[in-house]
């Protein structure tokens, strides 16, 4: 389809890729692996994955389950239309998430008991049937909004602002647009945080950003990572290394599990080469151990429940003893693990990053702190402050300086003409970050 437009292969969507799917003003953000014949669902909007293959990442309009790319020029054009000096006399209430913050202005909420429909609301109500009818006929959201705006009898001159707000509200209601984007660490962090903060140890994107900067993760560095954040920290470190250096990933069981954030970044071989998984049991034993054959990963129920995570390590395990390919995979794993263990034992690690959910950071510090190169950074995240207070005390008795404990608030602002204020309700769960530097105390 669309044979005229020939996008460069580097920037088109391929089958099998992980992608971020979100509506332009939506609240949800999903990480989805796009496979042939798949139906993708986002906030009540449904489309076929096939319809986006070969097309560039970006904004699409959905009609009849098919995605059609939308150009930036059309967006700008629409904006110009909105800025025409016509407006509506409709009230100011906005669509928000929770019931409590249902209206942006507390004084504009209508008492449920005294709910007499305003003329405008009545008209809108009558229009609804027509809207549903049009939708069935496959009319796009954008066209639908245009029709609604035309049809609104109270769409009268007032201000540019309220008119654009009117269109915005309409657009939000009926919009059939979807953004399909290449995953970035930032987008992944947001998607997983919104989906289930608990499984991510409540690590917010802004706190992850702080950790990377405090750990000084750059091209060529050797970074030790222990995390319980679905691979998010590991993946972020790998991206910043850009193919040189090492991300020594300490993991449970025989193979690194529950790291969907590493898989969904579609990394190149070069970037993947810095991923050096090391088994906890090797660290506890103080040396590399052979692989137990016929042993399953210790905790079977611990697998990632992401419906799109195809990298089922358990299956790989089963095949291993029969398959030549599996053998070479195991050898690769042993080789990477050896590299990782060497970095640790030779004290060549420049940073230690701990993103803990249940494991006491001290338990990791006891093994790893002595092995860090002097002047290396230590960055510890925990959702619980008391855990970091203990870690602080542990570190303060060792050659470690510049110890800092901090917390940060991250708040989204609503910026609309005459309606500027912080969002009324947001996800605020988060954690704390402890940082320090190892030194040689003579």
């Amino acid at each position: 389809m669309e044979p005229d437009a020939v996008p460069s292969t580097a920037s088109v969507i391929r089958s099998g890729e992980y992608l971020i799917v979100q509506k332009p003003d939506g609240e949800q953000s999903r990480v989805v692996r796009f496979t042939p014949k798949q139906k993708i669902l986002i906030e009540k909007l449904k489309f076929s994955a096939d319809s986006v293959f070969g097309k560039p990442y970006g904004l699409f309009e959905v009609s009849n389950n098919q995605c059609t790319p939308m150009s930036v020029d059309r967006l700008i054009e629409e904006l110009h239309q909105q800025e025409a000096p016509v407006a509506t006399s409709l009230g100011d209430s906005e669509t928000t998430t929770s019931e409590v913050t249902d209206s942006i202005d507390p004084r504009l909420v209508i008492a449920p008991s005294a709910l007499k429909l305003e003329p405008e609301q009545k008209r809108q109500k009558l229009e609804m049937d027509a809207v549903l009818e049009m939708k069935k006929q496959g009319i796009s959201g954008q066209e639908l909004v245009a029709k609604l705006v035309q049809g609104s009898a109270s769409f009268q001159t007032r201000t540019v602002f309220s008119q654009s707000k009117y269109i915005k509200r309409k657009a939000k209601k009926h919009n059939d647009r979807v953004l399909i984007l290449r995953p970035t660490i930032r987008l992944l962090a947001k998607a997983y945080y919104l989906k289930d903060p608990d499984r991510l140890a409540m690590l917010r994107a802004d706190q992850l950003a702080l950790m990377l900067q405090m750990a000084g993760v750059h091209h060529g560095k050797n970074i030790i990572v222990f995390e319980q954040t679905l691979g998010l920290i590991t993946s972020a470190v790998m991206e910043r290394l850009g193919g040189k250096g090492a991300c020594v990933h300490i993991h449970r069981g025989a193979v690194a599990q529950s790291i969907p954030c590493v898989h969904s970044m579609n990394y190149s071989e070069s970037t993947l080469s810095t991923f050096l998984p090391v088994r906890i049991k090797c660290l506890l034993a103080g040396s590399q151990l052979p692989y137990d054959t016929n042993r399953r990963p210790v905790n079977e129920e611990d697998g990632e429940d992401n419906e799109n995570d195809e990298a089922d390590k358990k299956n790989i395990d089963k095949l291993e003893d029969q398959d030549q390919e599996a053998l070479s995979r195991r050898n690769d794993r042993l080789d990477r693990e050896k590299q990782g263990l060497d970095i640790i034992s030779e004290e060549r690690a420049h940073s230690l990053i701990i993103g803990s959910r249940t494991v006491d950071p001290i338990s990791i510090l006891e093994l790893m702190f002595p092995k860090l190169a002097p002047s290396s950074s230590i960055v510890i995240y925990s959702p619980h402050q008391n855990v970091l207070i203990s870690a602080y005390e542990w570190l303060s008795k060792r050659p470690a300086i510049n110890l800092m404990l901090s917390d940060q608030m991250c708040r989204v602002m609503q910026v609309l003409p005459d309606r500027t204020h912080p969002l009324m309700a947001q996800y605020v769960a988060g954690g704390h970050v402890l940082t320090g530097i190892k030194v040689i105390d003579q």
């Binding site: 202005d105 507390p106 008492a111 660290l283 494991v359 008391n386 005459d418 204020h421 009324m424």
Partner: protein
């Protein structure tokens, strides 16, 4: 002398006519006026009012399918349980507004709008028994509803509710208030009237609640123009915590058992049952919380010596 039931009486036992707060579960409370012959219906089934009368405040009572607590009404509990007719001001804001108004018994306060009467109750209870609250709203259903509530709650003598647009017609009283509270979409229109309503000889305080910064900007200019001093805008963002049992494990435990929360008891290497040391910790909960209600702009009008 028959005494009208009141939020401000502190008898040990519940009488007919008293407003009680029926505490069902955390976050679920229902206010009810106790009246013989009536029955309360809620989550835990039915509860006949007869069983409430004569009981001590704070008593646990069995309903047909569970139990509830009968609590004495307070300003905070009323805010948490009142029938909502509009978006309301919650306890954190109410508390701060009372403080910014320097509210205390004996004060005369003007308020607009009345809304569902959350703040109105908080003010009335604070200025009683010698002060007075004049609450204004453009919607007659709201003022009449709050008047009804004030009557049931024994606050009639300290309150007056007026249907009035303070932005165009000013306040019910002039040259007599100690404090004015505004929660209106265009506070700048009401501010000159607020200045007029404040007592010239005593001076007074003004507090304005606005969700948007643009309203705040115009309100600040209007306050300065009306002669107010010490104009300041603050923002209050409460954060609710929850206390949870913390799961803290060593790397070894994680390797062998995973991160699943351990069962009540676990066994050590010798097979003996070991009690897990439970550590409590506070987490931010719910994960999604209100992060903004409104900005509070407050200012002082100084007394004008005669």
């Amino acid at each position: 002398m028959a005494v009208e039931p009141s939020f401000m009486e502190y008898e040990e036992r519940i009488k007919e006519g008293d407003t009680v707060i029926v505490y069902v579960t955390f976050g679920q409370m229902v206010p009810t006026v106790v009246k013989r012959g009536q029955t309360l219906m809620m989550k835990y089934g039915a509860l006949r009012h007869e069983f409430i009368i004569g009981k001590k405040w704070g008593q646990r009572l069995s309903a047909t399918a569970g139990y509830v607590y009968i609590l004495r009404p307070t300003s905070d509990l009323w805010t948490r349980s009142l029938p909502r007719r509009t978006q309301i001001l919650y306890t954190a804001d109410c508390a701060e507004i009372l403080s910014l108004l320097d509210a205390k018994p004996g004060m005369v306060i003007c308020e607009s709008g009345t809304g569902s009467g959350s703040l109105s109750h908080a003010i009335a209870l604070t200025i009683a028994p010698s002060g007075h609250l004049y609450t204004h709203d453009i919607d007659e259903t709201r003022t009449s509803k709050v008047l009804e509530e004030f009557k049931l709650h024994g606050l009639s003598s300290v309150t007056t509710a007026v249907v009035r647009n303070v932005c165009t017609s000013g306040f019910h009283v002039e040259n007599s208030a100690d404090g004015v509270f505004l929660d209106v979409p265009a506070p700048w229109e009401a501010i000159p009237f607020a200045a007029k309503s404040i007592s010239k000889t005593r001076g007074g305080r003004l507090v304005s609640f606005s969700p948007c910064l643009e309203q705040v900007q115009r309100a600040c200019l209007a306050m300065a123009a009306a002669g107010f001093v010490s104009i300041e805008t603050i923002e209050l963002v409460p954060e609710q915590k929850k206390i949870v049992s913390q799961h803290k494990q060593t790397l070894e435990e994680f390797e062998t058992m995973g991160d699943a929360y351990p069962k009540e008891r676990k066994r050590n290497a010798n097979g003996e049952v070991v009690e897990t040391a439970r550590v409590s910790t506070a987490i931010v909960y719910p994960y999604s919380q209100p992060t903004h209600t409104g900005y509070l702009t407050h200012a002082t009008l100084l007394a004008v010596p005669e």
